[in-house]
Symmetry: C2
Subunit: 125 residues, 2 copies
C-alpha cells in the first residue's frame, strides 16, 4: 500500500464514494479513496476492535486493550486509524473516550464489493 498515506488525509469522510466495482473502471482518485478505508480494515487487531465495538454498541478505550492483548499506545494508534477512515467515532465523557461504529461507512464500502458480476468479454490483443 505504498501510495495510500492515511496521515495525509485526516479523514476519509463518508466519501469512499463512487459506483460498484463492476460499474466501470475506477479512476485513480477513486481507487485511492477506497483503498484508504480498506487499508484501515485490513488489520487483524483493528478488525477485532471493530467487532468488539460493533457488538457492544459503545465502548471506552479502557475496555479494548485486554481483549486484543496490545499495549495502550497501540490501541490508541489503531482507534485513530479507524476514526480517520470514518469507520468509528469517539465521544469524550469526562476522562473516557467512548467509541462507536459508523454504519454508513461500512455500508458504503460494502456497496462497492457487491455487484461485481462479470458482464461482457474482452478478447486479448
Amino acid at each position: 500500500m505504498a501510495v495510500v498515506s492515511p496521515k495525509k488525509v485526516s479523514s476519509a469522510g463518508h466519501a469512499a464514494c463512487c459506483a460498484p466495482l463492476a460499474e466501470g473502471p475506477l479512476s485513480e482518485g477513486e481507487s485511492i479513496q477506497l483503498a484508504l478505508v480498506l487499508a484501515a480494515l485490513a488489520d487483524p487487531v483493528r478488525l477485532r476492535l471493530l467487532s468488539i465495538i460493533a457488538t457492544s454498541g459503545e465502548v471506552c478505550s479502557c475496555n479494548l486493550e485486554e481483549p486484543v492483548g496490545r499495549s495502550q499506545s497501540t490501541i490508541s494508534h489503531h482507534t485513530r486509524v479507524l476514526a480517520e477512515a470514518g469507520l468509528i467515532v469517539g465521544k469524550k465523557h469526562g476522562r473516557w473516550t467512548w467509541w462507536r461504529i459508523v454504519p454508513e461507512q461500512f455500508a458504503t464500502v460494502s456497496r462497492f464489493l457487491v455487484g461485481s458480476k462479470p458482464r461482457s468479454t474482452v478478447r486479448p490483443r
Copy 2:
C-alpha cells in the same frame, strides 16, 4: 499489517468465513483470515485492476498493464495477490491468462461489513 503474510497462506479460499462484525467478537484466527482478503483489496492499483476485470467480464493480463500504468512484473505480482485472496481466478488459453472475478468472495467480505449496527451499551470500568 504485520501479522498477515499472504505468502504463508497460498489461498484464502472462499473461507473468509465467520459472522458479520456485530455478531460478536472475532477470534484471532477469523480476524487474520478476513484481514488477508481485505489487505488484497486495500491497494489502489489492485482496485483498479478489479474494476477493469469486473467491468470487462474476462481480461487477459496483456490488457491490464496499460490502463494502470505499471510494469508487467508489477501487474503479475498484483494478479497473484488477488488470486491468492480468492478474489479472481485465471484460466490459461494458449499463451494468455484470462482473469475473471469470483463474485462469491466479494459477497463474503461484503456480508461482514454490513450488519455492523450498534446494539447494547457497555459501561467503562
